[in-house]
């Protein structure tokens, strides 16, 4: 089969390049027989030139105007023949009006990156000082998009069965103690897959892996002298390109292959991949920022602008992407479809997602077209959609994020209520009842179900788990902002000493409280998310906003695995416990009644007395029981599960509810017990001698399983 529209029909003005009219779709640069099809759109540009470079060269070797007869609508498109696609970089010069008050900021002297670039050069190796005189810092490249996925496909694990693990690609293996061959890279992360399997998680949430500039806002820390970088990466240069500096083979331009290989390996090992995506702003900043791409291509389309042409700043980072503009909406959809289809991504977590629900004037919308489009898109149909349901402009939508039954949310209320509970605050019984049940107060009203709630106690924002129990205050001096940055409402408690301590009692208590946290998290209805490194008590020495720390502060220290075996073992067994008990992983909220005829309601509440919870303001003890007949809405059978929580500073006896005659209570977890009795392997729980009462130590939790003796 041959085509009759593949041959050159024109010569460029300079006589150097053979051309023909291109196809508008797909946008970006695509390899076609004999050449490259370039396609870029702009609503207001009057002309566009393609600029061609040999890789890394400061000066271009070719300037090819897009002929007007090639234009289709607002799309500049052409095929350029005889290009060595592996060794070139390309960009655009765009001309158009410069009238900032009307939102137009065209500048035909600025080199512009292709918004649809699938690979980007300029930061090929992390941390290598760029040539600041180079007029074209972030350079579009052409990459081969074929890949042998073998029989890989997205895993489609039901969201209620996920145990999410949030990690930073570089920070996870960059520390010398990681022992991997290529620290801080996709290849390095691949070497840690056996570890993650051993831990038992089945989903990784990768902090931003799209191309970003680690040198953005880079400065020297006045306190430590270290070079502060844009380390977390919440600042987009290119939406369609995996970060070259995250690939060991990035210097060879093979970041796309390396990233896909990583995902294929994760899937082979039963681990889903969720990407943290940042559509709320770009790295171009406000009017003082650089021209990377969007500002010079179509400023008025891409950004939320005030009536005077200034940049709205709902992201806190200088600009806000105009997400509900129809053109930008399509770009976001194209982007997500690309990652889902070409990279087999299982889900997305949207940073500052409330921005995605603002209209073109910045006002919140009741039914944002973008969010609706994503909820119903067929290619994204089985992807998890997770919203960080707030922004930096005053919107807080936890419980009210426009969902269409598809969106889940980072439940910030869960984080705050659990932290307060774990530190022993009073007046939390009502809130805890809600959080443990998957927050029906927030999510039941629209029938969104328990797994609309992504439960977490720690995340990249804020303290690590170890620091949550070791510091009362944040210590971000190393960030160079006089400790003004980072959250103040951490709900943390240091157990009696601020920071590292040799005191055995303090350290025992800290360890117990960390066990309490992970037990509560993994026993709650909803989908749990863990922070990488918490299982080995990783510390940031009290820095709760390590966004700029590309060093020991934020890198996971694998040496801690050796000294924190007890905690790792606890995490591992707790994860196994959750996986073994479907009664913990319901999609819908409890009905608080017996609809299976077992004689027990799906959930019942207890306290020191069975069937009698103490909901009073000063209460710090609570318990609940789940009836295994009601697991997964009655579709599967599970054991009874009882959890006792004693956040008081004294030991208490919990009267146990009676079980059916043929069953007995077994202890699975007791955070007050010394190892190995703090947690038992699934199936090896210990039958309680005393079946009517359980004595639980101060500031501890316990999980009992009710089942038939063997």
């Amino acid at each position: 089969m041959f085509r009759i529209d593949l041959h050159p029909t024109h010569i460029s003005d300079c006589g150097q390049f053979r051309l023909r009219a291109g196809k508008p779709l797909p946008f970006g640069a695509s390899i076609v027989p004999g050449g490259i099809n370039f396609s870029v759109y702009s609503r207001s540009a009057t002309s566009c030139q393609l600029v061609l470079f040999n890789k890394h060269q400061p000066e271009p070797f070719g300037l090819v105007p897009f002929k007007d007869e090639f234009r289709i609508g607002n799309v500049f498109t052409m095929v350029v023949f005889d290009l060595d696609y592996e060794n070139i970089e390309y960009g655009f010069y765009m001309d158009g009006p410069f009238a900032p008050k009307e939102g137009q900021r065209f500048d035909k002297t600025k080199l512009l990156m292709d918004p649809y670039a699938k690979a980007i050069g300029g930061r090929d190796i992390w941390g290598i000082e760029p040539n600041w005189n180079d007029q074209y810092q972030h350079r579009s490249r052409i990459c081969l998009d074929d890949f042998d996925w073998e029989d890989d496909r997205p895993l489609e694990i039901p969201i209620e069965d996920l145990i999410i693990y949030e990690l930073h690609v570089r920070g996870f293996t960059r520390h010398p103690s990681s022992g991997v061959k290529h620290p801080g890279t996709f290849a390095g992360l691949r070497e840690k897959i056996p570890y993650l399997k051993e831990l038992g998680i089945n989903c990784v949430e990768l902090m931003p892996i799209h191309e970003f500039d680690e040198f953005e806002n880079s400065r020297i820390s006045p306190i430590t002298g270290a070079r502060l970088m844009n380390y977390w990466g919440y600042s987009n240069v290119g939406f369609f390109a995996p970060k070259a500096g995250y690939a060991a083979a990035g210097k060879y331009g093979m970041q796309v292959d390396e990233c896909k290989t990583l995902i294929r390996e994760f899937h082979k090992n039963g681990i889903e991949v969720v990407l943290d995506v940042v559509f709320n702003h770009t790295a171009e900043g406000d009017e003082r920022g650089p021209y990377i791409s969007y500002r010079g291509i179509d400023n008025k389309t891409y950004y939320l602008l005030t009536p005077d042409g200034y940049y709205y700043n709902f992201s806190g980072c200088g600009n806000t992407l105009n997400c509900n503009n129809p053109i930008v909406r399509n770009m976001i959809l194209d982007c997500l479809r690309y990652w889902a289809a070409d990279f087999h991504i299982d889900g997305f977590r949207f940073d500052l997602a409330s921005i995605l629900g603002r209209d073109q004037n910045g006002a919140p919308m009741h039914s944002p077209p973008l969010l609706e489009t994503l909820a119903f898109d067929p290619i994204l149909g089985k992807c998890k959609l997770i919203a960080e349901a707030w922004d930096a402009g005053g919107l807080y939508q936890v419980g009210s994020f426009p969902a269409w039954g598809r969106w889940a949310e980072w439940n910030g209320k869960y984080r705050d209520d659990l932290r307060r509970f774990i530190k022993g605050d009073s007046g939390l019984m009502g809130a805890m009842a809600q959080r443990l049940q998957g927050s029906p107060d927030l999510y039941q009203w629209e029938g969104r179900g328990a797994c609309a709630s992504i439960n977490f106690i720690t995340a990249h924002d804020g303290f690590t788990l170890k620091d949550l129990v070791s510091y009362n205050e944040k210590h971000n001096e190393a960030n160079g902002e006089h400790n003004n940055d980072g959250a103040n409402d951490n709900y943390s408690w240091n157990c009696g000493w601020e920071g590292e301590s040799d005191d055995e009692g303090i350290n025992r208590l800290r360890l117990k409280r960390m066990k309490n946290a992970v037990t509560l998290l993994l026993v709650s209805q909803g989908t749990p998310m863990l922070l990488a490194g918490d299982e080995m008590a990783n510390t940031q020495w009290g820095n709760n906003n390590a966004y700029c720390q590309d060093n020991d502060i934020s890198w996971v220290d694998w040496g801690l695995l050796v000294s924190n075996k007890e905690l790792f073992n606890f995490f591992q067994k707790m994860i196994a416990l959750r996986k073994a008990h479907p009664v913990l992983r319901n999609r819908s909220h409890f009905q608080n009644r017996d609809y299976m005829g077992s004689g027990f309601a799906d959930i019942t509440w207890h306290g020191l007395k069975a069937w009698n919870a103490d909901w009073s303001a000063q209460s710090r003890t609570l318990a609940f029981m789940l009836c295994g007949r009601h697991a997964k809405g009655g579709k599967v059978e599970d054991d009874f599960l009882y959890m006792a929580m004693n956040m008081h500073w004294q030991m208490h006896g919990f009267e146990l509810p009676g079980l059916p005659e043929d069953q007995a209570w077994y202890v699975a977890v007791n955070t007050d017990a010394q190892p190995p009795q703090d947690i038992w392997e699934v199936g090896k729980e210990v039958k309680l001698k005393e079946q009517n009462e359980f004595l639980l130590g101060e500031r501890s939790v316990a999980v009992l399983i009710g089942k038939k003796p063997k």
């Binding site: 060595d84 696609y85 592996e86 060794n87 990459c143 081969l144 074929d146 042998d148 290529h182 890279t185 290849a187 691949r190 690939a247 060991a248 083979a249 060879y252 331009g253 093979m254 292959d257 390396e258 896909k260 290989t261 990583l262 294929r264 390996e265």
Partner: protein, 106 residues
């Protein structure tokens, strides 16, 4: 075809000399030569890489293509790759179907 690249099929063993460079400029010719032996019985495909100093994405893909075409029962060997070349293959993950050896004997 490019300098130093050759394909030779004898007794079901295909020997391919990769020369010094394999990239988008000469990969298509190598692929054409490999196409000629596909359909014939090949039980082993042996790529000699001692001289190879540089392999690009496109070059790697020709080797993968060869593996896909000669079928699951055939074996693919890469002989004496230089460290830089082997590293690139391992980092990008495009190495999981071949056996790396320092020598090849029937």
């Amino acid at each position: 075809m490019g300098v130093n690249i050759s394909v030779d099929l004898k007794d079901e063993v295909a020997r391919i000399d990769l020369g010094r460079r394999l990239d988008a400029t000469n990969a298509p010719s190598l692929q054409e030569e490999l196409q000629k032996i596909i359909g014939q019985k090949v039980s082993k495909m042996v790529f000699f890489a001692q001289e190879l100093e540089y392999i690009s994405s496109a070059g790697l893909r020709v080797i993968i293509f060869a593996k896909q075409k000669i079928g699951v029962d055939a074996h693919l060997y890469l002989i004496s790759p230089q460290e830089a070349v082997l590293n690139v293959m391992k980092m990008s993950g495009l190495d999981n179907f071949m056996t790396v050896q320092t020598e090849f004997s029937e």
